[in-house]
Amino acid sequence: MPLYHNEDQAMLADTAGQFMSEEGSIAKQLRHWRDTECKDGFGHDFWKQFAELGFTGVLVAEDDGGLGMGHVEAGIVLEEIGRNLTPSPFLTSSVVAATALAQANDDLRGRYLPGLVSGDSVFAVAIDEGAKHRPENVACKAEKSGNGFKLTGQKDFVVHGASADMLVVAARTSGSDSDEDGITLFAVPKDASGMSHDAVRLVDSSMVTHTKFDGVELDGDAVIGEVDGGREILNKLLMAGRVGSAAEGVGVARGAMDMTVDYLKQRKQFGKLIGEFQALQHRASHLYSEVEIARAVVIKTQQLLDAGSEKADLMSSVAKAKVAKAAGLAVREGVQMHGGIGMTDEYDIGLYMKRDRALQEFMGDAYYHAGRVADMSGY
C-alpha cells in the first residue's frame, strides 16, 4: 500500500481538520477549560460533536455500531487533535480502550460499545504503575473472590480517570509482577465501591488520576478476553496507544513548526525579517526534515498495524521514539525562535511545549522505546 492517504482518507483529514480548527481550537477548548479550571479537562458537549461526526467509533467494528476503520483513519483525527491541542478523550476512549474492548466477548461489547460510540460513556485506561511507563510489570492484583475478583493496588497517570465512566484496568491474576502471563484486563465502573481517584492537573492542563483499588469487588463478566490471558490484549492496546499518541505528536510537532515558520516571516529585528537569517533558516529546515521523517514512520506503522503485520510491534516503538524526538525539537525550537514572547502565557507556542511534554510520557518516552527497539532487535 502506498504511504500516502487515499481519497477517502484525504476527505476525512479535511473534515477533521476543519472541525478541529474551528470547534476544537485552542481558544475555544484548551484555554477555555483551563481558565475555568474545569475538573474534567474537556467539554462534554464538544465530545458529543465528535460522536455526531462518527469519530468516537472510528476503530469500532461496523457490527458493533462503529465505522470499522483503521489506525490510519484514527491517526488522521489524532493529528488534527495534536495540531490544535484539542482536549478530548479520543485517544484514551476511542483508540486505546476501544482496541481492548474489540477483544471482549459479545456480551461485554454489547454492553459498552454503544455508549462509547454515542459518546455517552467515556473510557479511561489504567496501565501505568509509578511515574514511568513500565507495562512489563503489573503489580496491581485481582484475586479470585467467589464468582468474581477482588482488585487491589494503584494505577497512575490515568488520563481522564475522574471524568471517565469506565476504566480498562490491567491487573495480575496469577504469577509475579514481571511475569509475561497471568495478566487479566477488566472493565471497571469508575464509581465501583473501594475505588478512590486522586485527581491532579498536569502541566498541559490535562486531568489525570492516581487511582487506588482497595478490594474492589468485580463480577466475573468484567473480564475482557480470558482470565490470565490479558497480555496479548494488553500488547494490542499498547500498540494502539503508541501509534495513536505518535500521530497526535506529529500534529503537535507540525502545529508548533508551522506557527514558528510563520513567525519567522513576520518578526523584524535589525531591520530584517528574522527568517532572512541563515542561522534560523537552517534550524527551521532541519526541523522540517525531522518532522517529515516522523510523519512517514507514523503512517508506515499505522498501515502495518492495520494489516496485522508482525513488524507493527517493533515499528510502534520506532514511531513513538522518533516522534518524541522530532516533536520535542519542534516545541523547543518553537519557543526559542519566538524569543521573549515564546515565554508568555498569552502566546500559544508554550502550550505546544506543555502538551508535548505530557505526550512524551504517555505510553512511554523515547528512551523507553529506543531501549525496547534494542531489546527486540537482540542487542
Binding site: P2, L3, Y4, V261, L264, K265, K272, L273, G275, E276, Q278, Q281, H282, A284, S285, H286, Y288, S289, E290, E292, I293, A294, R295, A296, V297, I299, K300, T301, L314, M315, S317, V318, A319, A321, K322, K325, A366, H369, A370, G371, V373, A374, S377, G378, Y379
Partner: protein, 393 residues
C-alpha cells in the same frame, strides 16, 4: 489474487531460479559493485551471469520502457521487485550514473534518437558514464562554472577543467556542463554528451583521505564535441544554452541517489549486526545505537513514502534535498558508530581481516556524502527557500 500479488509470486519464483547464490549477499563495498562499461572486469562468473540475465529481462532498469531496454514495470510492480530483491539480499545487477542520473534526464528531455541509442546502451551496461559538473572555482556555486565550448558550426571546441568527476578514469562517456554563452549566467550553459576517448580529454585521479581515488580532475584541451551523432541524435540534451534546466533536473535525481531513499545498507539498522560482530556493547554505545536504529528505521519509512509520492507526483519538487540532507547525515553517523563499535580492529588500514581497511576507508568515504551533489548547508538553503518559503533565502 490481485495483479500485484500475482506479480510478487512470479517475481519471487523468477529470482529464485535466476539470481545466483553469490549475488545474494549485501554489497560490502565498491569492489562488489557491477558498473559495466567498455573496460569493466567482472569479479566472477556469477556477477556476469546475473547481469546478462537481468539485461534480457529488462531488470537493470525495470521501470524504463521496454523499447529503451527496461521492463516497463509500473510503480507498484517496481516496488514489489525492489522488495523481493531486498528480501533475498539480491545485489543490483548493474549500478551506474547512466541509470541513476543521465537516464532520467534523457527520459525527460531527450530526443527519440537519443533515447534509442543512449538508454539502450546504459540498460545493457555497455557504456559507463561520468558527470562533469563541479570545477575548481565552482563547488556549491555551480552555476559560476567556466569550461567553455567555442561554436565551430557543426561542433564545439571545448576547453576547461572539471573536478570531483566520479570515476572519470574508468568512464566511457561524459555528460558535461559547458558554457556556450559567457554573457548569460543561467542561460548560457549547454548539457553536452561526448566520448572520454576523444582527443584532448585527460583525467587525473584525486587521492582522498580514505586512500582511495573515486574522483578525478578532468581536463579538456581543444576537445571537439559534435553537435550531432546522427539522425535525431544531438550531442547535447535539451536546448543549446538551456543546459541548466537539465542540470537541475538531474541534480534532483543525484540527490535522491545519494540520499539512499531506496533503502538498502545506508539506511539499515545496525545495532544487532554490531552486537554479533563485537560481542558486548558499552551501555552508552548501546543506547546511542538504539537511538540510531530508531532514526534509521524511521528514515527507511521516509524513503518508501518519498518514492511512493514521487511516482504519483505528490512529493514536493524540492523534497529530494531534504532526503539528501537527512540520508547523508544518517550515513555519516552510522559509520561513526561502526568505528566506535569496531574499536582498534576497525582502525586497521591494510589487513586481510578488514579487507584492506574497509571499515576505516568506508568511514572516511562517507564524509563526502554531505558534500557531493550539494552540501548539507546548500540542502538546508534550498529547503528554506523552496519548501518553507522563508524570506531572502
Amino acid at each position: 489474487m490481485s495483479d500485484l500479488e500475482a506479480f510478487r509470486e512470479e517475481t519471487r519464483a523468477w529470482l529464485e531460479a535466476n539470481c545466483p547464490e553469490e549475488m545474494r549477499q549485501p554489497v560490502r563495498d565498491e569492489d562488489d559493485v557491477c558498473w559495466g562499461g567498455r573496460n569493466f572486469q567482472f569479479k566472477n562468473d556469477a556477477q556476469k551471469a546475473w547481469l546478462d540475465t537481468c539485461i534480457e529481462k529488462g531488470y537493470t532498469v525495470p521501470a524504463w520502457p521496454k523499447e529503451y531496454g527496461g521492463a516497463g514495470l509500473n510503480p507498484g510492480e517496481a516496488k514489489v521487485l525492489r522488495e523481493e530483491m531486498r528480501r533475498i539480499n539480491a545485489r543490483p545487477p548493474l549500478s551506474s550514473f547512466g541509470i541513476w542520473m543521465l537516464g532520467p534526464a534523457l527520459l525527460h528531455f531527450g530526443t527519440e534518437g537519443q533515447k534509442q541509442r543512449f538508454l539502450n546502451e546504459i540498460a545493457r551496461g555497455e557504456i559507463r558514464w561520468c558527470q562533469g559538473y563541479s570545477e575548481p572555482g565552482s563547488g556549491s556555486d555551480l552555476v559560476s562554472m567556466q569550461t567553455f565550448g567555442e561554436d565551430k558550426g557543426d561542433h564545439w571546441v571545448v576547453n576547461g577543467q572539471k573536478i570531483w568527476t566520479s570515476y572519470a578514469d574508468k568512464a566511457d562517456w561524459i555528460f558535461c556542463l559547458v558554457r556556450t554563452d559567457k554573457e548569460n549566467k543561467y542561460q548560457g550553459i549547454t548539457f553536452m554528451l561526448y566520448d572520454m576517448a576523444s582527443e584532448g580529454v585527460s583525467t587525473k585521479p584525486i587521492k582522498l583521505i580514505s586512500g582511495n581515488s573515486p574522483f578525478c580532475e578532468t581536463f579538456f584541451d581543444d576537445v571537439s564535441v559534435p553537435k550531432s551523432y546522427g539522425d535525431d541524435c544531438p550531442g547535447f540534451v535539451g536546448e543549446i544554452n538551456r543546459g541548466w534546466d537539465v542540470a537541475k533536473y538531474l541534480l534532483g535525481h543525484e540527490r535522491e541517489m545519494i540520499s539512499g531513499a531506496d533503502g538498502g545498507a545506508r539506511t539499515a539498522a545496525i545495532g544487532a549486526m554490531l552486537k554479533r560482530m563485537v560481542g558486548d556493547l558499552d551501555p552508552v554505545l548501546r543506547a546511542e545505537l538504539a537511538m540510531f536504529d530508531v532514526d534509521a528505521l524511521a528514515y527507511t519509512a521516509m524513503g518508501e513514502k518519498f518514492l511512493d509520492e514521487v511516482k504519483v507526483g505528490k512529493a514536493h519538487p524540492a523534497q529530494p534535498n531534504m532526503m539528501k540532507y537527512a540520508g547523508t547525515e544518517l550515513n555519516k553517523r552510522r559509520h561513526e558508530l561502526m568505528m566506535a563499535a569496531g574499536g582498534s580492529r576497525a582502525l586497521e588500514w591494510d589487513s586481510e581481516e578488514t579487507r584492506g581497511g574497509a571499515p576505516s576507508r568506508n568511514w572516511l568515504r562517507t564524509k563526502a556524502n554531505s558534500i557531493e551533489g550539494g552540501t548539507s548547508e546548500v540542502m538546508l538553503n534550498v529547503i528554506s527557500k523552496r519548501i518553507l518559503d522563508l524570506p531572502g533565502a
